[in-house]
């Protein structure tokens, strides 16, 4: 069921506040470091301001922001700059060992696999929703997610996440 708009399209401050962490965390999941996530984060909200898309429902706005975050990071991941840059160790926001370990295991997955993991486990989206958002078949998403889980299990050598 569609959720009516929580904010007007003009109420940009509230929109940024509300979706701030969602956009940032997805960007981080895709690029794996804070510096690039910072850039993508700003770019996404600037696009929102510039393009002024008209949303009919809040879930439409959310989907738009997720999609644009993915697209912005896609462009970034393929850029010349990224291919030539080695990230510094101070670009991750973790301090305890368990989280650092999970971060390192996640980085062994492809950016696409990390995106699926993030949308499923953090955004709590169903396979069908992810499929709609990414323009893929539901069966494809299911297969890709299963594969991502298997890879992660292999890396982590534990069974507690399936």
């Amino acid at each position: 069921m569609s959720q009516s708009l929580l904010f007007s399209d003009e109420d940009i401050e509230e929109v940024v506040k509300y979706y701030s962490k969602m956009v940032y965390r997805l960007a981080f999941a895709r690029v794996g470091n804070s510096f690039d996530a910072d850039e993508i984060y700003q770019e996404v909200f600037f696009r929102l301001v510039r393009k002024k898309p008209k949303f009919k429902a809040e879930e439409h706005r959310k989907a738009w922001l997720i999609k644009v975050t993915i697209n912005c990071s896609k462009k970034f991941l393929g850029s010349t700059w990224n291919k030539r840059t080695t990230m510094l160790n101070d670009t991750i926001p973790f301090y305890d060992e368990e989280k650092i370990e999970l971060y390192e295991e996640l980085q062994k997955l492809s950016s696409d696999a990390r995106t699926l993991i993030h949308l499923y486990y953090y955004e709590n989206m169903k396979n069908a929703e992810i499929a709609r958002l990414l323009g893929r078949k539901e069966s494809t998403v299911r297969t890709q997610l299963t594969r991502a889980r298997q890879q992660l299990r292999k890396f982590m050598k534990e069974e507690d996440y399936v």
Binding site: I12, E13, V16, K17, S20, K21, Y24, R25, F28, F35, D36, A37, D38, E39, Y41, Q42, E43, F45, F46, L48, V49, R50, K75, F76, S79, T80, W81, R84, T85, L88, P93, F94, Y95, K99, L102, Y103, I117, H118, Y121, Y122, L152, D160, Y161, V162
Partner: protein, 284 residues
């Protein structure tokens, strides 16, 4: 459960308050202006090139012209480091220089909020060199930084073309000295990367292993053994690309191998997208 673990993991991941406030401010203002949001290494590279350009070849008058053209009467630095500063000043020799200091080495931005159209027009003193670059539409921060970087690199290549080996070495030495003065390791790294790019644009040093590991590599000659690892040198000026973007060159061995390396490569835009190599027999 993994879901809980992952949710917890994400608790640490959030935009900094500064980033959030800055984004909010910009979004509220709905500015159309250009936003320079440049990674620290690329800002270092650009800054280095600006510094190098200005301290090397620009006299005081044209330095002022650059400042005016850039609209950089005031540079605002937004950084994690509240003590970050940017200054435009005349050095001892009267040259105008831009100095960016960010001790923390964190998030750094230069903004030019009111620019509907930004024209960077460099007229480099009495040297006769100049270039102009214009941003008439919104470009992403990354595009802008790379465009400036490319323009600057291209400028330097032009400046250095035809110069004596000694002059080139002196220029690189001076640039490296400037790079070493950056207090931030990230700036240093970016600056040295920029200098290496400049150096490598004059001569390619190709390592056979790199070619073998290149996914586009197609072996057309005899198998290369590990023991045959060698350096080959190509003078970039000898590379001529045809209308389809292909070029063939012969690389001379510098050390460790007999003979030559015949290389064909394809260029799309500014990038080499395909390289095929074949080693000739040393007795050929």
């Amino acid at each position: 459960m993994f879901r809980e673990k992952y949710q917890k993991y994400n608790e640490n991941i959030a935009p900094s308050e500064k980033l959030f406030q800055e984004t909010l401010e910009k979004a509220k203002e709905n500015k159309k202006g250009f936003i320079f949001s440049v990674k620290r290494s690329s800002i270092a590279a650009c800054t280095l090139l600006v510094l190098g350009l200005m301290t090397f070849t620009v006299d005081a008058a044209s330095g002022g012209a650059i400042r005016k053209a850039l609209g950089l009467e005031k540079i605002s630095i937004y950084s994690d480091d509240e003590n970050a500063t940017a200054e435009i000043y005349q050095d001892e020799s009267g040259d105008n220089v831009i100095e960016v200091k960010d001790q923390h080495g964190g998030w750094t931005k230069i903004t030019e909020d009111d620019a509907e159209q930004l024209v960077i027009d460099f007229h480099v003193g009495s040297s006769g060199y100049n270039f102009s670059t214009e941003f008439t539409d919104y470009m992403s921060a990354e595009d802008i930084s790379w465009r400036i970087y490319d323009e600057m690199s291209s400028f330097f290549r032009d400046v250095l073309k035809g110069e004596s080996k000694e002059r080139k070495e002196a220029v690189f030495k001076k640039l490296e000295d400037i790079a070493d003065k950056f207090e931030s390791e990230a700036y240093k790294e970016g600056a040295h990367m920029a200098i290496d790019d400049l150096k490598n644009s004059r001569n390619f040093l190709i390592y056979e292993d790199d070619i073998l590991e290149d996914e586009n590599f197609q072996s057309t000659g005899e198998d290369m053994k590990v023991a045959d690892i060698a350096w080959y040198k190509i003078d970039i000026d000898t590379i001529k690309f045809d209308k389809d973007g292909w070029a063939k060159v012969v690389a001379d061995s510098v050390a460790g191998a007999k003979g030559h390396l015949e290389i064909s490569m394809r260029k799309e835009g500014n990038e080499i997208t395909e390289i095929n190599a074949k080693r000739t027999d040393g007795d050929e």
